[in-house]
């Protein structure tokens, strides 16, 4: 079997080049590939186009790449809560493409599934429909949206085995499975790397066929953006 396991994040990202387009899993700070992002910061690779639902916060997640001025373009659905992002956007240092979250997800899914483009109702009649083909099906208008084309996908799972089969936990799943299939090279970091046979095939979320590299990450911070609790009634 081809060896997919690599020693650490630095080795996993070593061939990511200046100007590359990369997908990064996660929703907010939930389920983001923390180790790989830190490795990209250390490596100092520049002019990245990052496809990710959000752009992290000032001092964590993709925010670290922004602080280090490594990002040329962000493709996201929501980019609040990041003042360095805002500064770079207003000064024109950073190019930003905002797209509906469902369109972002489907452009990932389509890329992994061999579908070059698809029609969606999201954004019809709004400024995001400008310049796009509109077609009517069953008396309703739809926009033509194209699949992404990313050189690398970097994702995070809870458990993974040596062949790249993955299981996610909670809502940390989000964009990770669809980005896994979409990258030409997909790097998966996991909290726990287990031998083949340890994961029940009935409960694997991402088949290892989509994964080219896998490593066990460490020192996960798992920061919470909005810690919200209720009173314990007991």
């Amino acid at each position: 079997m081809i060896k997919k396991v690599v020693e650490n994040a630095n080795i996993a990202v070593q061939d990511i080049f200046d100007g590359a387009t990369i997908m990064l899993g996660g929703f907010g700070l939930c389920g983001i590939p923390e180790n790989s992002i830190n490795a990209l910061v250390s490596k100092g690779v520049k002019n990245l186009t990052c496809i990710s639902n959000n752009a992290g916060v000032d001092d964590f997640g993709i925010g670290l790449l922004l602080q280090n001025k490594q990002v040329k373009k962000m493709i996201s659905s929501y980019v609040g809560e990041n003042s360095e992002f805002e500064r770079q956007l207003l000064t024109g240092e950073l190019d930003v493409e905002l797209i509906p979250q469902g369109t972002l997800a489907e452009r990932c899914r389509a890329a992994g599934a061999g579908i070059p483009a698809f029609y969606t109702p999201a954004g019809v009649g709004t400024e995001i429909s400008e310049g796009k083909e509109i077609r009517k099906f069953n008396e309703k208008n739809y926009l033509l949206e194209k699949a992404f084309n990313a050189e690398f996908s970097i994702i995070k799972a809870w458990k993974g085995d040596l062949s790249g089969n993955l299981i996610y936990k909670g809502t940390a799943r989000n964009f990770n499975p669809i980005m896994a299939a979409a990258g030409k090279i997909t790097i998966a970091e996991v909290e726990e790397l287990v031998p083949i046979g340890e994961l029940d095939p009935n409960f694997i979320h991402t088949p290892g066929i989509y994964i080219q590299r896998i490593f066990q990450g460490n020192d996960y911070q798992k920061r919470i953006e909005q810690k919200t609790i209720r009173e314990d009634e007991s």
């Binding site: 659905s77 469902g102 809502t171 964009f175 810690k227 209720r230 314990d232």
Partner: protein, 218 residues
């Protein structure tokens, strides 16, 4: 007396029906979860990948791997299910969500909604709002009747970039409940102590008063 945000949420909760799958937006819509009638079962969808959203956790239950679309920590319930973002928006675009409740900066008399961008100011993005409003035929807006300057948010046509066209069905504000009809806004309920004249004055778009006008019961 105009309604406060909790009373707006309470009024909207009366729109819920047994068996509904519902997506709640950030802000006042999130509060609707506190007023679901006890005799019905409603399943809340969080578009980051959860059906069956439970209440906020107690301190010992906090899990960074379990958040809602507003990035708040939450819990699951018995019968909850987790899924990826493509599956989540398949549910939304596929019309499987029975009701969507969201906030707005402006609504026009033909049902256009604007809630994602203020040109010249910081643009945070539309998140899942464009997908939601383009795919549901049961969209309820929760918002204040006027903005901080006192200008009407119920307009002839939206001034801000729109999120979706002709999609809003009903609006619950601090002053009134209005439906969108072919003739514009139809005032169906007014807050106790608020006059029809005040509501008309604070509604820029075309407004008609229902023959069966009621007082909002909260």
């Amino acid at each position: 007396m105009s309604l406060n945000k909790f009373q707006i949420a309470q009024r909207i909760s009366k729109e819920l029906r047994d068996g509904y799958y519902v997506n709640l937006g950030i802000g006042i819509p999130t509060l609707v979860a506190n007023y679901i009638p006890e005799n019905i079962n409603v399943v809340l969808q969080s578009e980051n990948g959860l059906l069956g959203m439970g209440p906020f956790p107690i301190l010992s239950e906090v899990d960074p791997d379990l958040i809602n679309a507003g990035k708040q920590t939450i819990t699951t319930l018995k019968g909850s299910v987790l899924f990826d973002s493509a599956e989540s928006f398949s549910m939304i675009r596929g019309g499987h969500i029975n009701m969507t409740i969201l906030g707005a900066m402006e609504v026009s008399e033909n049902g256009d909604i604007a809630n994602w961008k203020i040109p010249g100011k910081m643009v945070k993005g539309m998140g899942g709002a464009m997908d939601l409003v383009s795919s549901s035929d049961n969209i309820i807006v929760a918002m204040m009747h006027t903005n901080k300057k006192g200008d009407s948010k119920l307009l002839k046509s939206c001034q801000l970039p729109i999120t979706g066209k002709k999609c809003v069905k009903k609006i619950v504000t601090n002053l009134a409940v209005l439906e969108i009809t072919n003739n514009g806004f139809l005032l169906t309920e007014k807050a106790k102590g608020v006059t029809v004249e005040e509501i008309i004055k604070k509604t820029e778009g075309n407004i008609e008063v229902s023959n069966n006008l009621k007082t909002i019961d909260v």
